[in-house]
C-alpha cells in the first residue's frame, strides 16, 4: 500500500548577506496512514523549514511531495484550499497561533465553515463535541483564547486541527512551550486521538524523549540533511549517526540515587 505522505528530494536554499545557505539538502521521508513519524534535530537542522514547505507556507527549490495520492506541490488556489482539510498543523507557540481577538468558538467555527464539515445549524454541536474530545468543556466556547492557560490553548489548537478530519497532523514543537506537568497530558491526548481516528502524525521536536513517547518511527535531521531513520526503539537504543548519538546523550536524566 502506498504511503499517505511521500516527500522526495526536497531542497531549499536561502541567500542571506551575500552567502548561500542550504536549509534543506535532498530530504526524503515517508509516512504511512495512521502512523506517527517523529522528526528530531537541533536548531538549524532544517526540520521547521521542512514543515513549512510541507504545509505550503513557503516554496521549495526542488523535489516532490505526494500526499493522499496527489501531487501536493502542484495544487494551487481553490483546489489547494480544499485539499488543505486533509493536512493540518499545530504550532509551537500557543499564544501567537491565535488571532488576539478570537474566541474559542470562532476559532473552531472557521474550519467547519470553510470546509462545510457540517450544516450551519449543527456547527455549535460539532464545536461542543470537538472541545470534549480534547478534554475541555463546551462552555469554553465563548471565552477569548487569550484568557486560557498555555495547556488549554494547545488543546484548542488540536481541536481546530482535527475539526476538518484530516488524515495527517503536523505538530511543530507543539509541547515545547508547555509546563512539564501539562506536557504529558497533551501527549496522551495525541496518542488517544490517533488510536480513535487513525490520524497519521508528523511530530517535530528537538527533544528525543518527547518524540520517543509518541512515535512509531523516528527520522533524524542534521544540517539540512536526513541522517538516520528507523523504528523509535532502535534509534534510541542504538543510534548510528553522530547527530542521533548527541541527541540521545543530551536528554536530561533525573539523578536520584546518591552515587
Amino acid at each position: 500500500m502506498s504511503p499517505l505522505l511521500s516527500i522526495e528530494n526536497i531542497s531549499k536554499g536561502f541567500s542571506s548577506a551575500g552567502r548561500q545557505i542550504i536549509a534543506l539538502d535532498n530530504v526524503s521521508l515517508t509516512i504511512a496512514a495512521g502512523e506517527t513519524l517523529g522528526l528530531v534535530g537541533g536548531s538549524g537542522s532544517g526540520k521547521s523549514t521542512l514543515s513549512r514547505i510541507l504545509l505550503r507556507l513557503v516554496s521549495c527549490d526542488a523535489g516532490s511531495i505526494r500526499f493522499d495520492g496527489e501531487d501536493w506541490l502542484r495544487l494551487k488556489g481553490a483546489a489547494l484550499r480544499r485539499k488543505r482539510a486533509r493536512m493540518q498543523m499545530v504550532f509551537q507557540d500557543p499564544l501567537a497561533a491565535f488571532n488576539p481577538l478570537a474566541t474559542v468558538g470562532t476559532v473552531l467555527d472557521d474550519p467547519l465553515r470553510i470546509h462545510g464539515i457540517v450544516a450551519r445549524d449543527r456547527r455549535p454541536g460539532e464545536i461542543a463535541m470537538l472541545l470534549e474530545r480534547v478534554g475541555l468543556t463546551a462552555d469554553h466556547a465563548n471565552r477569548p483564547v487569550r484568557a486560557l492557560s498555555g495547556g488549554q490553548r494547545q488543546r484548542v489548537a488540536i481541536a481546530r486541527a482535527i475539526a476538518t478530519r484530516p488524515s495527517l497532523l503536523v505538530l511543530d514543537e507543539a509541547v515545547s512551550a508547555l509546563d512539564v506537568t501539562v506536557r504529558g497530558r497533551i501527549l496522551e491526548l495525541l496518542v488517544d486521538l490517533q488510536k480513535q481516528q487513525g490520524i497519521a502524525c508528523l511530530f517535530i521536536s528537538h527533544d528525543l524523549a518527547v518524540v520517543r513517547a509518541v512515535s512509531h518511527r523516528v527520522a533524524v535531521m542534521d544540517g539540512g540533511r536526513m541522517v538516520e531513520t528507523g523504528p523509535a526503539a532502535a534509534i534510541v537504543a542504538a543510534p548510528q549517526s553522530a547527530a542521533a548519538r548527541a541527541l540521545v546523550a543530551a536528554v536530561p536524566c533525573l539523578v536520584t540515587d546518591p552515587s
Partner: protein
C-alpha cells in the same frame, strides 16, 4: 467598555474628552444660542467683550457677533477637521494595505507615491491645491487630506508586513481560509489600533491647516471660520486685540484637547494586547 474606563482614568484622557465635549456641544447648539447667519451685521462695530449683554464677546469691525462667529467657527473646524482626517485615514489605510499585501513591484510603486506626498509639506500642498482648484469646503477637505494620508499609509503597511509573519496568519492559511478573508478578518483588525491612535493627531493637524488656509483668505468665504476671524482682526490688533485673540485661543484649546484625547487613547489602547496569560 473597559477601554473607555481606562481612557477616563488618565488625566489626559479626561481633560481631552472634556474639551472635545464642550466643543461638540458648542458646535451642535450653534443655531439655538445664536440663531441666524453669523456673518450678518448684528450690531455696532468694535464693541468690546462684556460691554453689552446681547454680544457677550463683542463685535468685529463690521459689527458681526464674535460669539456667533466663534461657535459657528467651531462647527467648521470640527467638520472640516474630522472630514479631512477621515478621508486621509481611508485613503492611507487602503493604500497601506494594498502595498503590504501585494508586495514587490506594486509595493515599491505605491511607496514611491507615498514618498512624493510625504516630501511636500502638507500645508504647501493644500495651499497649492486650493489656489488652483477653488475655495469650496469639499476642496479644502480634499486638499488637507492629500497632505495627511501618507503617514497612515506607511504605518498601515508596516503593521500589515509585521502581522503577515505571525503564526495566526499562517494558521489561517493552513486551515484553508481565502486570502481576502484573511486580510479582512485576521490582519486588518489587528493592524488598525496604532493607526487609529494616529488619527487623533491628524484631526488636530487638519483643524490647524483649515484655520491657516482661511487665515490666508483661501477658505470658503461664505462661512464663519476661526482662521478668517483671526485674519480680520489683524488690522485692528492694537486697538481691539480680542478680535484675533479669542478665536486664536479657541483654536489653541481645541488642538490641545485633541492631542490630550489622543494621549489618553494611546494609553487606553496601549495597555491592551500586550498582556499574556
Amino acid at each position: 467598555m473597559s477601554r473607555f474606563r481606562r481612557l477616563l482614568s488618565t488625566p489626559e484622557g479626561v481633560a481631552g474628552l472634556a474639551i472635545l465635549a464642550v466643543l461638540l456641544l458648542a458646535a451642535l447648539s450653534a443655531p439655538i444660542v445664536s440663531p441666524g447667519d453669523p456673518l450678518r451685521i448684528a450690531g455696532r462695530a468694535l464693541l468690546p467683550p462684556f460691554a453689552d449683554p446681547a454680544f457677550p464677546l463683542g463685535t468685529d469691525r463690521l459689527g458681526r457677533d464674535v460669539l456667533a462667529g466663534l461657535i459657528y467657527g467651531a462647527r467648521t473646524s470640527l467638520a472640516v477637521g474630522l472630514a479631512a482626517a477621515f478621508s486621509a485615514m481611508i485613503l492611507g489605510v487602503c493604500v497601506g494595505m494594498a502595498a503590504g499585501f501585494a508586495g514587490r513591484i506594486v509595493d515599491e510603486a505605491l511607496m514611491r507615491v507615498v514618498d512624493a506626498f510625504q516630501i511636500v509639506p502638507g500645508f504647501l500642498l493644500a495651499l497649492a491645491f486650493v489656489s488652483t482648484i477653488g475655495v469650496s469646503t469639499p476642496v479644502v477637505v480634499l486638499a488637507i487630506a492629500l497632505g495627511a494620508w501618507a503617514d497612515p499609509a506607511r504605518l498601515t503597511r508596516a503593521q500589515v508586513l509585521a502581522i503577515r509573519e505571525q503564526d495566526y496568519v499562517a494558521s489561517a492559511r493552513v486551515i484553508g481560509m481565502h486570502p481576502v478573508e484573511i486580510a479582512f478578518r485576521e490582519i486588518l483588525p489587528n493592524a488598525l489600533p496604532p493607526v487609529l491612535a494616529l488619527s487623533a493627531t491628524i484631526v488636530a493637524g487638519a483643524i490647524l491647516t483649515e484655520a491657516a488656509l482661511s487665515f490666508l483668505g483661501l477658505g470658503n468665504p461664505n462661512i464663519a471660520t476661526w482662521g478668517s476671524m483671526i485674519a480680520e482682526g489683524r488690522s485692528v490688533l492694537r486697538s481691539a486685540a480680542y478680535l484675533s485673540v479669542i478665536p486664536g485661543a479657541a483654536l489653541a484649546v481645541t488642538v490641545l484637547g485633541v492631542h490630550l484625547f489622543s494621549e489618553g487613547l494611546v494609553n487606553a489602547l496601549g495597555d491592551d494586547g500586550g498582556r499574556t496569560a
